[in-house]
């Protein structure tokens, strides 16, 4: 969990117009790989790019969707589905995450300011 004393670092990653609806992109923010998604409703979501079930940095290449009202992202490797709101793993496909990884994704706050996409990367450092 995020410690209370965490320092928030706001980083501009790209222009909002660079994002295509439903097509994710990866961003490298201070050595951390982040997957960014612009959804149908225009909102932008950011989660860790690391897929905890395959140990590969590929979440940005997954398929967006919804489960009920929750926007989701599916891993392109083993198809686990995660909430883009909470990062919670909604469908594990009956698999365990790789050793050392939590099943849920870290979620990063995103803001769009002046046409720029800004990520708040909360560093535990």
């Amino acid at each position: 969990m995020t410690p209370a004393s965490a320092i928030a670092t706001r980083t501009v990653v790209c222009a909002y117009d660079d994002l295509t609806p439903d097509l994710g992109v990866a961003a490298l923010v201070g050595g951390v790989q982040v997957a960014l998604f612009r959804l149908d409703d225009g909102s932008v979501r950011a989660v860790q790019n690391l897929d905890p079930f395959s140990d590969a940095h590929v979440m940005s290449r997954g398929i967006t969707g919804s489960r009920g009202d929750v926007p989701t992202i599916a891993s392109p490797i083993y198809k686990q589905v995660f909430s883009l709101i909470t990062g919670e793993c909604l469908v594990t496909m009956d698999k365990q995450p790789r050793a050392g990884h939590a099943a849920d994704l870290a979620v990063y706050p995103v803001t769009v300011d002046n046409g720029q996409v800004i990520i708040d990367l909360v560093s535990a450092a």
Partner: protein
Amino acid sequence: MGAEKVVVVGAGMVAQRFVQSLRAGDAEGRYAIDVIGEETFAPYDRVALTSFFSKAGPEDLLLGDQALWDDPAVTLRRSTRATAVDREAATVSLDTGERLTYDHLVLATGSSAWAPPLPGIDLPGVFMYRTLDDVAGMQAWVRERQAVVGRPVRGAVIGGGLLGLEAAGALQSMGATATVVEFADRLMALQVDKSGGEALKSLIERLGVKVKTSLATTEVVADAEGRAGTLRFSDGSEQLVDVVVFATGIRPRDDLGRGAGLAVGERGGIVVNDTCLTEDPRVSAIGECAAAAADGHLSIGLIAPGNAMADVTAHRLLGREEAYLGADTATKLKLLGVDVASFGDAFATTPGALEVVYSDPFSGAYKKLVMTDDASTLLGGMFVGDASAYAQLRPMVGAELPGDPSSWILPEGAAPRPELELPDEATVCSCNNVTAGTIRHAVNEDGVHDLGELKACTTAGTACGSCLPLVKKILTTELGKAGIEVSQALCEHFELSRAQLFSAIQVAGLTTFSEILERFGTGHGCDICKPTIGSILASIYNGHVLADDRAALQDTNDRVMANMQKDGTYSVVPRIPGGEITPDKLLVIAQVAKDFDLYTKITGGQRIDLFGARLEQLPQIWQRLVDAGMESGHAYGKSLRTVKSCVGSTWCRFGVQDSAGMAIRLEERYRGLRSPHKIKVGVSGCARECAEARGKDVGVIATEKGWNVYVGGNGGFAPVHAQLLVEDADEETAIRAIDRYLMLYIRTADRLQRTAPWQAEYEGGLDAIREVILDDSLGICADLDAHMVHHLDTYEDEWAAVLADPDRLKQFTSFVNAPDTADPSLAYVEERGQRRPATASEKVQLVGAATATTHPEEN
């Protein structure tokens, strides 16, 4: 308005059913019900009486929901006997001295055990077998005698019918020995024929029960202490016994009716009409005490007709006129663990009836089907020892039995049984008289989707349970038909199956996911429906896989036109039709592999896979391949992979046709064709089959005269060899057949369903498919052909198109904010001169702390 008073005399199973049925339909409380029961128990399952010995106590035999008896509209009087009915006054007198008035009287007094008037029948140690009290008394007696005689108690059952065998089982479970004495020449003479009786006897004897048939008991002789001690028989023989159970039949308990002046049948039973009404419009009789017109004014000793009468009467009171149609005397029993079933015209009394018999005294099975003289229609049947086919066959009585009748009676697996589709009016649960139509209605109209709900809703299978397998099957079939089953609906966003969606999209002419979702689905879609629709759109319109809004529909593989490997890099697989490659192209591939340090492997699909390309490298790599004249191999797509071939007649001394040429023609024809799953094709130049074409979805094998086309082969979990579709066809005919086969598959298969299961599940199987594509039995061949022509006309290499489109190239970047930086988490080790992804432990050594920082928030 005060409730009308219904008095039910008798508290057996039928009474219970009547009350239940009446209460279920009487929400407004028109009726108040009094039930008068002699026994101390609420109605219990008399059919299961024998299980009294294996179960904890009488409570376990109680019927239905006991809350029924807490219903304020229902009053159950236990240990109370009705002594007289005064029809003038409309009252019933009870042995408690009470007198109940009624608006409607329902007689459900059932039957009593009947024993022949033999000398000694009243000796201690002689029992009847009818009520829980009988059974409890018998049990106490056996226990007591056991303790005294210090050896197993010798038991005998007089009567070898259904009850007699139950009683024998009861004796055995009490630890007594049992001999069944039957007057007729066989056991269960009413249900089974001579051979069946013999089979039954041998099975029963194997269980340790002795059986004596064709023997009349003349006397029960007392021992020195005045207990039942010896049985004496008509042939002069004798048998020592400690306990005797009479199960010689039942008689309707019609004395109340008689006393009230109601008409009684020739062999007993209160005469009722088709609505179970006696001559007195305020008095009904149901169950074993009734002699219904539909049964020829005979009393029937089975539970199913009793339940039917209860329903008819309850419904009449509720204002719905129904007729009692007479008893279905079909029976299926498990007697001492032995299956016995008989139904329909089991004794082949229909003129010209044929009997198909299978008897195997070793396994103990005796099975018989009775058919009409043309062997087409089922009339009845008899099963002893193995009644597994009963549930499916009984409802087919009077209907045409498809296939070879013997397949139903031969041992499991000996001959395949045809699939049955029951007519709506066929009765499935005869205990509760539930038809196939009722079950279907519950599934289709009432939204019942699981067996538990279905039982609750229709009461099918809630009595004896023998029909449950059939009920379940109907449920599954109906769900399947309605596409209701979860696996049929694509996902939570689409209720349609892939095949339905395919038609819908095609008919509606929709071309984008958003339109389709709006029209046919809900929500935003997901990783299941998006690629499926992407594939359908590609199949129908064959536009670029990244055209319109389709890129976001695709799996990453289709989206970046490469196959993702475990570390997130991709494999690059250029198409090499038929495996034939010019040295120049070979050199280009090798050079690319070298330059990008790609792991290189020749595959069974007869091409060369290059592994380890990063997302941002893909366009550069493909630029070089496309420049050299190569194109996408679609290794990433649910589409044609490769057409494998041997070298064929051009080089091989055994080849009879140019298999490589044919393979290349096929590969170039079907390349890029999107389908429910990947498609593999093989072409062999002779029957030696070096291309292993029969393991492919479509296999083409050269013959002296042309080509044989095989379809539906499959490797994988359950390998299947492809089956012959056409023989000795010329090239054009072979290709046309394959065109149509693939198109039909693409249109009608489920998501991720390969050709083998599709073909197996296609209604009518391969024969039906053959009719569709060769004889145009559905009249869609022109459409299928046109569709394939459209595919051919519009094919373009996906990679060449992407390379020419800067917009689409945008997505091939590692990081949106650092497009030139490679994924820093990738790590490799060298093995056999090439690189491979490092294992987790190797990675720690190689990347060390650097990797650790790329993993945010590890707990």
